[in-house]
């Protein structure tokens, strides 16, 4: 409560004008994210100004500045990069606009939660990678020749999920990554890459895909090559989209770690609580479920 005094204040009103800086909107996950924000704003009758940085941290900084210039009541930022977006959070604070960071955080050494911005609501990519590894180790009885389908080269979810996965399997010498290539988070490229890698590495027994779309592409490739996904090759991925749950039910996909894109309700509620003067924790982790054949059917209707 002491720290909260340093944050800009938000008057209690029935309706706000909110800025929302989205980092990109070129994949189903992001679109579901944006949609949940839009839906919640509509439900509450608030105005939401969404900007789209098209995957560029630089453009995102310009976008946030633009929102500041428009003097919106509060800003939600889903940052592209930790460091580049941090200074602009301070600028918002200086302009008296409270900020909530969503999904990925900003550099805490420059901007501090509870001090410079209200809080961070997010997911933990490294953790996701770990959970995927954990399941795979069990499912393959500590022995697997793995093909890793990576996300867009250099992007933080790709880097972090890889890191988490590799950290976990390090202690299992039977878990061997025999090939790792980027499928750019897309189904089409995931398929193409898998087709090619299958030719070069027919001995593969497991696939770890950095997201569901690539996993679904890999399933198509495996089937075309006459292999049975789920039996000959065990697949695990991350996200928890509807198609992935369907694939789990069909026995083709082993499991997927949820990375919930629906931040809307939580984000807006947090802002309301802040306006009402409630104490906000410095970090709000969106609880991520884990889907496998035991619960896929149950959660299917809710999947995005």
């Amino acid at each position: 409560a002491a720290q909260a005094q340093e944050l800009p204040k938000l008057a209690v009103k029935s309706s706000y004008r909110i800025g929302f800086s989205q980092t990109e909107s070129d994949n189903p996950w992001r679109l579901a994210f944006s949609k949940s924000m839009q839906d919640e704003a509509k439900r509450l009758g608030w105005t939401i100004v969404e900007t789209n940085a098209g995957g560029s941290a630089a453009k995102q900084v310009a976008d946030v500045r633009n929102l500041i210039a428009q003097r919106v009541d509060a800003i939600f930022i889903s940052p592209r990069e930790e460091k580049p977006l941090a200074p602009v959070v301070l600028e918002a604070k200086k302009a008296g606009i409270p900020v909530i960071i969503i999904d990925r955080n900003v550099d805490e050494s420059i901007a501090k939660a509870g001090n410079d911005y209200i809080t961070f609501i997010g997911s933990d990519f490294v953790q996701e990678g770990k959970r995927a590894a954990e399941w795979l180790v069990k499912a393959t009885k500590k022995n697997a020749k793995i093909i890793e389908l990576e996300g867009t080269t250099g992007s933080s979810p790709a880097n972090d999920r890889k890191q988490g996965f590799h950290e976990y399997i390090k202690s299992y010498p039977g878990m061997q990554v025999i090939a790792a290539q980027t499928g750019n988070f897309t189904r089409d490229e995931g398929r193409k890459v898998m087709e090619t890698l299958l030719q070069a590495h027919p001995e593969v027994t497991a696939v770890f895909a950095h997201n569901d779309e690539m996993a679904l592409g890999a399933i198509t490739a495996l089937e075309a090559a006459g292999k049975k996904p789920g039996k000959d090759v065990i697949i695990v991925s991350i996200d928890g989209e509807k198609d992935a749950l369907n694939a789990i039910i069909a026995g083709k996909l082993g499991a997927t770690v949820e990375c919930n894109p629906r931040f809307g309700v939580k984000a807006f509620q947090t802002l309301k609580d802040f306006a009402a003067g409630k104490k906000i924790p410095l970090k709000v982790i969106n609880p991520d479920k884990f889907f496998d054949k035991n619960n896929a059917r149950k959660y299917l209707p809710d999947a995005y």
Binding site: R17, S34, R65, R71, K83
Partner: protein, 321 residues
């Protein structure tokens, strides 16, 4: 009179848009908004300036976006060693890559489109390799960040760099022999060669210059956002080409104006700003995909304005002949 309109079709659109936006949106004319606009668009301005000189020789440079990303990584890597290395090393490295572009274009007679498409891939690869596929943080001790984030005489430093570059560019085009040579080559390369103009040297120069300016934009990118980002600069080459064309320059080369290129950059940048502000009014809620459609339409309108202007000019010439 109408000739003026043609040459300044872009400027006209800019003025109209600017007046419209200042009247409609509060905060549009705020010092904060204008400075942040300039700070960000300075990068595109520098790239477009280099692209301009390439295009007037009848060439094209697709590698600038990757080049800027590469430079930003190098700048971040060099930042612990101080300002000078952080600026000079990336700019020089890029100039060398640009020189290579020029070398392949002149020696092996490969089309600029292909050569720079190759460099588009290569520079991106180099950026990823140099950065270890991670964002490279800028050293905060050396104060390099000031270059992108600081002010000079109350004005953003990147904006100063932009204005100085365009002033020098104008002088170079109008007064320097090599500037005129570049225009001449674009007009008719064979004739220029037969006239005894050092065609190869000029091309080497413009491609090096374009890359060096892209490198400088990359330095600004790194210092302004405190990080070298190997995945930045996607699509910047198209933005730069569009800005040059909106500035009234022919892609076939031989004609063009430096200042109108700046107008093109500002105009294209302002489209984004205006869209954001319009969204903020809350009358309509343009989601991101409608924004892309509107951006395309806007570009269409601006280019149409230009092209109908072109016809006015032709007709006029007959009358004054």
């Amino acid at each position: 009179m109408q000739n003026l309109l043609k040459q300044n079709g872009g400027l006209l659109a800019l003025i109209v848009l600017f007046v419209f936006a200042s009247l409609r949106y509060t905060g549009f004319l705020s010092e904060y908004n204008i400075e942040s606009f300039l700070r960000y668009n300075a990068m595109f301005g520098l790239i477009a300036l280099g692209m301009f000189f390439v295009i007037i020789t009848g060439g094209i440079d697709l590698s600038v976006g990757s080049m800027a990303a590469f430079a930003s990584v190098i700048a971040a890597l060099m930042s612990p060693y101080g300002l000078l290395p952080a600026v000079l090393v990336p700019v020089l490295l890029c100039a060398v890559l640009g020189f290579l572009n020029g070398l392949v274009i002149t020696r092996f007679k490969v089309m600029p489109f292909v050569v720079t498409l190759g460099m588009f891939l290569i520079a991106r690869g180099l950026a990823l390799i140099a950065s270890g596929q991670q964002t490279v943080l800028l050293s905060s001790e050396s104060g390099v960040g000031n270059l992108g984030q600081g002010d000079f005489l109350g004005f953003p430093i990147p904006a100063w760099m932009l204005f100085v570059a365009f002033a020098l560019g104008t002088v170079f085009l109008i007064k320097a022999p090599y500037g005129r040579f570049a225009l001449t080559i674009g007009g008719n390369e064979e004739a220029a060669r037969l006239m005894g103009i050092p065609v190869e040297k000029v091309k080497l120069l413009v491609y090096s210059l374009s890359s060096a300016l892209a490198g400088l934009a990359g330095v600004i990118l790194a210092t302004q956002f405190s990080a070298g980002q190997p995945n930045e600069g996607m699509g910047w080459e198209l933005t730069a080409i569009a800005a040059v064309v909106v500035g009234g320059t022919l892609l076939t080369g031989g004609r063009g104006s430096v200042i109108n290129t700046l107008v093109g950059v500002v105009l294209l940048g302002m489209i984004f700003t205006v869209l954001n502000f319009e969204n903020g009014l809350g009358h309509i809620n343009i989601n991101s995909y409608w924004q892309t459609v509107i951006r395309g339409l806007f570009l269409l309108v601006v280019v149409l304005l230009q092209s109908s202007g072109t016809r006015i000019k032709l007709n006029l010439n007959w009358k004054s002949a």
